[in-house]
Symmetry: C2
Subunit: 355 residues, 2 copies
Amino acid sequence: MNVEDLETPALTADLDVLETNIRHMADHCRDLGIELRPHVKTHKIPEIAHMQLAAGATGITCQRLGEADVMAAAGIKDILITYNIVGTKKLERLMRLAERADLTLTVDSGYVASEISNQAQEKGCEIGVLVELDTGGERTGVQSPKEALRLAEKVMEMPGLSFRGIMTYPSHERAKPFMERTLQLLRSREIPVEVISGGGTGFEAISKDLGCTETRSGSYVFEGPKRISIPANPPNPVTCALRLIATVVSTPTAKRVIVDAGEKSLTLYTNFFRPQLPPSHYGYIVEYPTAKMYGMSVEHGHVDVGSCEHKFKIGDKLSIVPVHQGMTLNLHDELVGVREGEVEVVWPVAARGKK
Amino acid sequence: MNVEDLETPALTADLDVLETNIRHMADHCRDLGIELRPHVKTHKIPEIAHMQLAAGATGITCQRLGEADVMAAAGIKDILITYNIVGTKKLERLMRLAERADLTLTVDSGYVASEISNQAQEKGCEIGVLVELDTGGERTGVQSPKEALRLAEKVMEMPGLSFRGIMTYPSHERAKPFMERTLQLLRSREIPVEVISGGGTGFEAISKDLGCTETRSGSYVFEGPKRISIPANPPNPVTCALRLIATVVSTPTAKRVIVDAGEKSLTLYTNFFRPQLPPSHYGYIVEYPTAKMYGMSVEHGHVDVGSCEHKFKIGDKLSIVPVHQGMTLNLHDELVGVREGEVEVVWPVAARGKK
């Protein structure tokens, strides 16, 4: 089937771009001498995770337990979950998962670690543990190298847990003193540090420089070597794999065209790290770069075609590169793989909506 | 099961609030003397549509053909789709749907109308048609009363179509001259206008004043009588039915608490109609109104508890009222109905993700 014949809105991935992104990142990490443990929250598709592993990734990273469940069911063994797993139901699920996969978790408190330890001891499992450092991201993570040491020592004493190393996000240069001091403290107590985990896309060289053994890059699979950000790094159709195929459904004025892709197909756009920016860019139209998506409502995309020579007709199909690719994928139940305009595969977004 | 025992993040609806919202809006429209045709894009759940019909709604409104498919499969007959249906695959599906439901569609061009007519004639169906007016919303719709008349006359000549009236969104007072002139022109040609359709939540009285016979209010089911907007009408737990139940997973500093509900559970927040506003508010925490959700990442909600007397512990459950209720619902596969803290029902969001 040709991509033109897909019912819209249809989320597609250009397979050539996807494969290139996967290969380039694997090569980049190999050249740097850092292991690649891709974050699958970006795609939630086991087939893509397997492509990343085949290209040389050492394992995968998940953000939700439900993502890890789906990936383990697809035969993936080496799984890092970079999230504090909290609550009885989640811990019971975690133990069932531990029977099928080699799990490593991150923790940032003795409480979270001890609850996992209690369950693991009871079930006779062993779970790998990384201590999460808040090196400036101001989200989760221990607040000082001393706190990291104390937590590592606690974890080492807890049955069912195996201390494996440390983790941080994001891998900024300002993380260096925190990480170096933590490693110094751990080594002064002769605590072996097998894993130093950093992230994400675009920060591989910095991660290496910080001493990381692995990078949890994720967005690269769809966004290319550098994360999309507006206005610094707008979506580039050469390195961006996703295309939302939309249909022109109305041409009410000479300047305005309406397509069948709005907030529920492309997500609302805002930039958490730069909240002062107006939502000035909603998607990049590959065929007509001078046509500007200037707004969205729930099911409508609003396109300004005032600077565009092409005369749009109702029924025209457009390929829109989303600005927030991982979030867009999370809205869709299927991703259509396309090569040179022909549909090659349809992947269920198998881990979408899983707790 | 108690709501405290739900695995998080869990999207719940307070059934007392939901039922009150449904009843109040039905009463409000009855008092005004305007028919209520609720927009189901807000909830995408057939059971809620049936509750709205039982309270007196004359039919329902859908924004996607897939929503209409799901609602018709649940036994709902009287369906208005306020969207230009374009493309061969969609038209074929539309004709199958027309065999099971009494359909009315909106159109804003002769092209869209004629394509529907061709299919309807071939299949021997009759489809009701409303002409959409762009009375200031600057989205879809014909641009002038004269254009509305011309399109109505065309529709009346097209086999398989039955001209039923006009439709606009939103129902602002500035729509009045456009609508009055259109009705004048239609009446001058003795074209019967059975339906004048306006929307949405909070605009029922204005719709009546504009001469509308029906209102397509939708958000009220979750948001109450007035749409949530920041800062004018922030989420109010008395009239807002949705609660995202989240768990505290980290308490890294005395001021910061992290919960397991981020962008993929609550949606990115931005306000299309007021893009100059920063995304300053991400959710209202019912138990601790002085705790402020100030940010989100993909799976984390960032809460400032600096002004809050309560000492948060890992494992605490919080009830968060989302600021963009319809968009939040679209992220979840299930909605848990809760009454006085006990789970009463779990509804699949059956029309979620349907094209």
